[in-house]
Symmetry: C2
């Protein structure tokens, strides 16, 4: 056994956790810079809760609500500049993966006058501002990871940075904020969270402790498959999904992701497929590809899911996920090349060559 275990985030999980733990906001200063998207913070009710608490505590705040979907370096740079001008003491990220990931970049850029590309050095002269993260989807797990995944227009893909100082200090996890999410978004994000647990479990970097968290997340996903397919998204299921997403985030904080995420980035970048859906399309072929190296763990995973085999799992996923874009073989070759450049590809349990990735994609996507 040889491992590191660290989760730099304190999680406060449960209904009304923001208002019930409002004193947590006081520790970080008097000026809060809120990072969110156009809609999610408002529609979920999270922004209202936060604004109420900040006003009650006499904390000044500024709302930056222009985080893009899959935020670019240019987008976070703009937010970072505004946070600097505002002289923020701390950052509050509210939303799905995009605003939460953006908030980490903002926390660095607010106190470091660097080009946004330099984020990828992961070495910052001034310590990033403290971050409070409030997810409004149950998927990304970004609220408990140090990772910030940003779109690199210069490299035609998404790429992540993060170090121990970019863990949010606090995550408030209230499943109420996800109650109104439509079924397709709920599925996409749930599948993303499941991929975090699965890819972490089957990563070369998996550890005894990350496996414990991964197995719990996998078990919970198994309990949610039918509700997700049938749209039975009651508060009880919503809460389970949020718990699973948190666990998935804790897993990848230790293991990172592997080839599924790498391939998925291309589908999101070039075809605008939602991140979780893009990942989910590859699960069946990914498991078949890896079975040779990890049959024991994959069998255990299926057992925890309550599913008889990989093909049955594939059928269930097909019921959840659909897409209506087409791919040429040349496109998939390009995606395979890009995936080979992701460091996470090297952590896949079975070594994957470019041709392997191409074959996984062609089997998964029925290219024309």
């Amino acid at each position: 056994m040889n491992f590191k275990f660290f989760i730099g985030t304190k999680v406060l999980f449960g209904e009304n956790c923001v208002t019930e733990n409002k004193n947590e906001f006081k520790k970080f200063g008097k000026r809060a810079f809120v990072v969110t998207g156009k809609n999610s913070g408002k529609l979920s009710g999270a922004l209202d809760d936060v604004a109420g608490v900040l006003e009650n505590l006499g904390i000044d705040y500024y709302i930056f609500d222009r985080v893009e979907n899959n935020p670019s370096l240019e987008n976070v740079n703009e937010a970072g500049r505004e946070a600097r001008t505002f002289k923020a003491d701390f950052i509050i990220g509210i939303g799905g993966g995009s605003p939460l990931d953006a908030s980490k970049a903002v926390s660095v850029l607010a106190v470091n006058h660097i080009e946004p590309k330099e984020l990828y050095s992961n070495v910052f002269i001034n310590k990033p501002l403290p971050i409070i993260a409030i997810p409004t989807t149950a998927g990304t797990g970004s609220e408990v990871t140090p990772y910030s995944i940003l779109t690199r227009r210069d490299l035609n893909t998404k790429m992540s940075f993060g170090n121990e100082d970019t863990f949010p200090q606090i995550a408030f996890e209230d499943a109420r904020y996800t109650y109104d999410l439509p079924s397709n978004v709920t599925i996409d994000t749930a599948v993303d969270a499941f991929c975090h647990a699965m890819e972490g479990y089957l990563s070369r970097r998996s550890t005894p402790a990350s496996d414990v968290l991964a197995q719990e997340a996998i078990t919970i996903f198994g309990q949610c498959i039918n509700p997700l397919i049938n749209g039975q998204l009651d508060p009880y299921v919503r809460e389970k999904l949020m718990y699973m997403a948190m666990l998935g985030g804790m897993v990848i904080s230790h293991t990172g992701t592997t080839i599924i995420h790498g391939m998925g980035y291309s589908l999101t970048y070039f075809k605008d497929l939602p991140h979780g859906r893009a990942n989910g399309l590859f699960i069946k072929e990914y498991l078949k590809f890896n079975y040779r190296e990890a049959s024991g763990k994959i069998d255990r995973m299926l057992e925890l899911l309550g599913i008889a085999g990989i093909d049955e799992f594939g059928e269930l996923l097909e019921k959840m996920l659909n897409y209506n874009c087409t791919f040429t073989e040349d496109e998939l070759k390009q995606y395979a090349s890009l995936t080979m450049k992701q460091k996470s590809t090297t952590y896949n349990i079975r070594t994957a060559a470019k041709q392997d990735l191409f074959e996984i994609m062609i089997k998964s996507l029925k290219a024309q």
Copy 2:
């Protein structure tokens, strides 16, 4: 679901973790105050490893090696005074539970001129110094908890303090430091770690996330029962025990302990029974007492342990644990009274009155 999850400690686990991660020491300053006992740091080799690293990095250090077994307020006060005089930047605790717990008190007292009794207020004007914790037993889990359990001579018992700032920043967990521990110490400490997992699992404060960690620890203990009884303490078993102890610490960081620890404190205080052994003597009757309220969880625990029932578990524990002191009924009544004063008693899954505690003790200890 409504829970908090926070482990303020980064764990570096594995052979040679101190030397292989020596840069971690650099972050905390140039003056290290080492808190350890008379023997454990030296005999385990941990102190040598640490001294080597500090010298290599040019960090000045001072070794306080006078931590008592079950350290008193007076003892930590003396160490705190010396740390202040030394102008320590950070504290390194090396040893079993006693030095690690003492190091937390020292980290507070080094920067706060308070009476040691005021530690129990858990509010400190100056933030405690950072702590690096290096266990040389696999039991306490103190390396990943904020708790410091100190002997209160004024109250005839042991009592704990701690807040989020007294989590060690880093725990180095190298099972090599436990290789030479005698069998009885290994058993005592392992049983203590198991009690952390079990009491946390059966606590009113248990959470979904703490249960995941507890179940893993319980599973590992099940794998170690025969090796512990037979003295087959090879490096592989030592590593498992250390991993279990870490998990147990993470569990009680969320749940605290319950009546076993409360009763055990008296046996240690008045009869000098080792802490883990004192706890272990109560396990069988504790489970019988709680079965009415927690049959599902207790059955699950026995299943994870690979044991058919409570009585069989009691027999196995009897093979591990022995003691040769006697108790009068009056003594046990006094212990029951003292246990009722421990806050942890209120977290027991089945409400325990003084008479209940007395009966658990009399059945467990065959009083004369």
